[in-house]
């Protein structure tokens, strides 16, 4: 029996209003690659943050044993001292420092106190680069190498810290097939030759099946099961069944039939290039339709181009070299700015309410009226009375829990903030609402209320495009579902034909062949 390197016992972690982890248990053996899989929000990243000390001891309950020792990490430094290194999905390299400097950042090779030994730094860097199979001069700036190579630098950086347990959070999410394979093979090599244990978090189940020895499945913050490749005969279908198997009753309000025959919005051949790297296509020839009174869904994972698609439709708020046709109510629309889009009856409710949606330091009232100040300010002078009444109306209609509309948005819970965000856009009297992850970071009760709001809007004849990476939400709420991957719409399902397995398989098919193994 293999030696246990890491044991996490009944880990529970709560955020205000949300139980992110509920009694999670996981055991990792020395010298294995252990995959952790689950849908968005299942608690994978939170679990790893608990393990690496990002969430310090005391902010969760449960015990962590590493190498047989009970551990109480107060910061990342504590866990790194034991050789636990986490590589986050967003790489943490400094672009304007060299590969070598990055590799020893915070861990500098020193000659005397405080003086960096550059010779040793670059010599060691070269050794580690050889280990990870990266042929680059360690003096090259990180910004000048590709993302795939940067990922290898991250791994080399971890090796330089005498890593015993390497945690990789979605290491291949921004890599192409060749680079992904390189990273996975490197993990296998490290395991074989240096006995390094890794935890691999990934959405790409084919990768998981390819290299993991054991797989732990998380669902809604709890462990479902741990599969052993050598015993259980792990297939992607088997993993999906573990991830998905959940009751869907009562979590979504009944969705009445409100679709009308008129098409509210039609998007034809929509293509968008990246805002900065203008030769990179982020939305590729997308066409779709939205009927009045319909809730249509776009299911896609992070990086599938769904947000870019929405933003580019919303008055070209994102992207470059945008081409394609927008037809609203039978008329071709030319939208060149956000105010134009708002005036034309479009809204985009952002997935990131804190950064892109709300002005946290302002009151509920000021946040709600912002998109259409002209409604409360005839002739440019703000009618404060009207503004207050309007804001109060929406506070009551959406049941925003706050003592008054003067309350700063900062002081509200996530669910109530999300309702303010919805109120703000409903107030702007749109015909078409694009909702991007409208229930992210919101507890179950508030989610249900938000779903009811969405149903009400559809009943009023508004056309709604619901973007989400939560499959149950998409299945529970949408009349029609588009599946998006790598900037393209790869499938369309009517509600009656859509199943979780079907949609998942559809995405898997798409990425088949990415790993040729």
């Amino acid at each position: 029996m293999a030696k246990k390197l890491l044991e996490m016992h009944s880990i529970t972690k709560e955020f205000p209003g949300v139980k992110a982890l509920d009694n999670v248990n996981i055991t990792v053996n020395e010298g294995e690659i252990h995959a952790v899989v689950g849908e968005n929000g299942a608690g994978k990243s939170t679990l790893m943050n608990v393990l690496s000390g990002v969430h310090p001891y005391g902010s969760y309950s449960g015990d962590i044993y590493f190498d047989g020792q009970l551990c109480r990490f107060h910061s990342i430094k504590d866990s790194e001292r034991l050789g636990i290194v986490i590589i986050h999905q967003e790489l943490a390299l400094v672009p304007y420092l060299s590969i070598g400097e990055n590799m020893f950042l915070g861990n500098e090779r020193r000659r005397r106190r405080g003086v960096v030994d550059w010779n040793e730094t670059y010599q060691k860097a070269e050794e580690y680069l050889k280990v990870v199979g990266l042929e680059e001069n360690p003096r090259t700036l990180v910004k000048d190498i590709s993302v795939g190579k940067q990922q290898l630098v991250e791994i080399a950086k971890a090796l330089a810290k005498d890593v015993r347990l390497l945690i990789l959070d979605e290491p291949t999410s921004s890599l192409n097939e060749g680079d992904s394979l390189k990273v996975l093979n490197l993990l296998l090599t490290l395991k074989r030759e240096r006995g390094i244990t890794s935890i691999l978090i990934s959405h790409k189940l084919n990768e998981v099946a390819y290299c993991a020895d054991r797989i732990t499945i998380l669902r809604d913050g709890s462990t479902v099961e741990t599969l052993d490749k050598h015993k259980d005969g792990v297939t992607e279908e088997r993993i999906i069944r573990g991830m998905v198997g959940r009751e869907m009753t009562e979590r979504y309000p009944h969705r009445p039939h409100t679709i009308r025959s008129e098409v509210a919005l039609e998007v034809q051949d929509w293509t968008v290039y990246h805002e900065l790297y203008t030769e990179r296509k982020v939305v590729d020839n997308v066409s779709f339709k939205l009927h009045k009174g319909e809730v249509a869904g776009i299911y896609g994972l992070m990086g599938s181009g769904r947000t870019e698609l929405a933003l580019s439709i919303f008055g070209r708020a994102y992207g470059s070299r945008i081409s394609g046709t927008l037809i609203k109510d039978g008329q071709v629309l030319e939208l060149n700015s956000v105010p134009e889009a708002i005036n034309a009856g479009l809204t985009y409710v952002t997935e990131d309410r804190k950064d892109n949606g709300l002005i946290l330091g302002n009151s509920i009232m000021h946040n709600i009226t912002l998109p259409r100040m002209d409604f409360v300010a005839p002739k440019g002078r703000i009618d404060r009375d009207l503004e207050r009444q309007t804001a109060n109306h929406y506070r009551e209609a959406l049941d925003i829990k706050a003592p008054s509309v003067e309350q700063l948005v900062n002081n509200l819970s996530g669910g109530n903030q999300q309702k303010v965000l919805l109120a703000k856009w409903i107030y702007s009297k749109p015909d078409i609402l694009i909702l991007d992850e409208p229930t992210r970071g919101v507890d179950v009760g508030a989610k249900y209320e938000i779903y009811q709001i969405i149903n009400d809007l559809a009943k009023q004849g508004k056309a709604i495009l619901l973007i989400s990476s939560e499959l149950p939400e998409i299945l529970g709420m949408c009349d029609r579902i588009y599946v998006m991957d790598s900037g393209r719409i790869i499938a369309e399902f009517p509600q009656s034909e859509a199943t979780q397995e079907g949609i998942m398989n559809c995405i898997m098919q798409q990425s088949k062949g990415e790993i040729g193994a």
């Binding site: 002005i359 302002n362 002078r381 002081n411």
Partner: protein, 414 residues
């Protein structure tokens, strides 16, 4: 009650800073044996600080956009003074048209800086640092390093001197200028009427209102302060004309920030630029206009200042930008933008002005004065930031279980 409490808490800092101003005034009144509030000195205070207030109001608009400051205003003041001096004194142009031309030059300067900041997206700090050097240099070139003086009286008439006594023989309460007192009483009456009307209106609409006694107390205090100010001015030579200019600017910008759509957009821009942009706020245009406006107000300050000196000097306006920036921050503006009021900025400028004036009366050397002003700026902002952290921490659910680490409290700020 909750609404009143929320309003009170949101404005807590304003009351604190007002109390601080009062404390400083009383302290200097005692330390200078009553010289600070003598009629002549009150009049002086207004003349000395008028241009700082004008600049600070413009600076506030820039700071609101996101903590952007304008370092060039001192140089713009000097350049406008130099232009006015050259056009009028050297070339003998018409004073009134020159003033108009100077304001246009100010707008052009603002458009130049605004273009680089808003459209080319070069940090405001760098653009205005460049402007500080460029416009100071241009001042020296225009003036050839010399000081031009004196200005003709029609140029001075706009901003120097006093509103003449309309009833010379009257001598109310033995005042030299009775008109001043009448103006003060009139303003107090207008204030009280508008307060009462607002109160009755809110009551009728069933909004939260303060008790009538609080309203009465507020009206008595404000009216007494206003009447006292104009009484004191009347005891000297009357209402300085520049007070009218400053008053109009204060009222106009106060209205702009609180009652207009564009003013609201300015706060939104500073509060969260990305969210504002996605809510249809024309962020780039707004940033541009903030700097155009700043240079426009700087050119008004330039005219006022050169008239007060009665000369165009190449050294004019040095370090004015710092006084204006300090006034905004002492007055409660956030260094990250989105927070700040015209009223607070006025109080901030008055604190700086009283400190300057009081210490000068006491004969404290200007070297020490700078140290004191610097510490007051830091103290005011530190009080603000630390106070806010403590208040937020108290409301955190996990507070009390363990002391949060410093870096966590910083995160809460954002």
């Amino acid at each position: 009650m909750s609404s009143l409490w929320t309003t009170l808490r949101n404005n807590l800092r304003q009351y604190m800073i007002l109390l601080a101003l009062l404390a400083i005034i009383i302290a200097f009144q005692l330390m200078t044996n009553g010289t600070l509030l003598k009629p002549m000195n009150v009049s002086n205070l207004i003349f000395q600080n008028a241009y700082v207030v004008i600049l600070a109001v413009g600076m506030l608009m820039c700071i609101l956009t996101g903590g952007n400051i304008d370092l060039s205003v001192g140089s713009v003041v000097a350049l406008i003074g130099a232009c006015a001096g050259t056009f009028i004194i050297s070339w003998g142009w018409n004073s009134h048209l020159t003033i108009l031309l100077c304001l246009l030059i100010g707008l052009a300067i603002g458009a130049w800086q605004g273009f680089w900041i808003a459209y080319a997206r070069i940090p405001a700090f760098i653009v205005t640092l460049s402007g500080m050097l460029v416009f100071r240099g241009l001042t020296l070139i225009v003036l050839g390093g010399l000081t031009l003086a004196p200005f003709p009286s029609d140029f001075l008439a706009y901003s120097t001197g006093y509103i003449p006594d309309l009833f010379p023989g009257m001598s109310l309460f033995g005042l030299r200028n009775s008109t001043s007192l009448l103006i003060g009483v009139l303003l107090a009456i207008i204030y009280c009427i508008s307060q009462m009307r607002g109160w009755i209106w809110r009551k009728k609409k069933a909004y939260e209102v303060e008790s009538p006694w609080v309203l009465l107390l507020k009206m008595v205090i404000v009216s007494a302060a206003v009447i006292w100010l104009f009484y004191t001015l009347g005891a000297y030579r009357g209402v300085p004309k520049v007070l009218i200019i400053v008053g109009i600017i204060l009222i106009a910008y106060s209205y702009f920030t609180t009652h207009t759509v564009m003013g609201r957009h300015l706060y939104a821009l500073g509060g969260n630029e990305k969210a504002a942009r996605l809510s249809g706020v024309k962020t780039t245009q707004l940033l541009f206009l903030a700097y155009v406006n700043m240079a426009f107000l700087a050119s008004i300050a330039g005219i006022v200042f050169s008239a007060r000196l009665n000369s165009a000097s190449p050294q004019a306006g040095q370090s004015f930008e710092l006084d204006a920036i300090a006034a905004c921050f002492i007055g409660g503006a956030s260094a990250y933008g989105g927070i700040g009021t015209v009223g607070g900025t006025l109080i901030g400028a008055m604190i700086m002005g009283v400190l300057n004036n009081g210490m000068s009366i006491m004969g404290i050397s200007s070297n020490v004065q700078q140290v004191v002003k610097g510490l007051v700026l830091l103290g005011a902002v530190a009080f603000d930031v630390l106070g806010k952290q403590r208040m937020q921490l108290r409301f955190l659910p996990f507070f009390g279980r363990r002391a949060p680490k410093p870096q966590e409290s910083v995160k809460l700020e954002g």
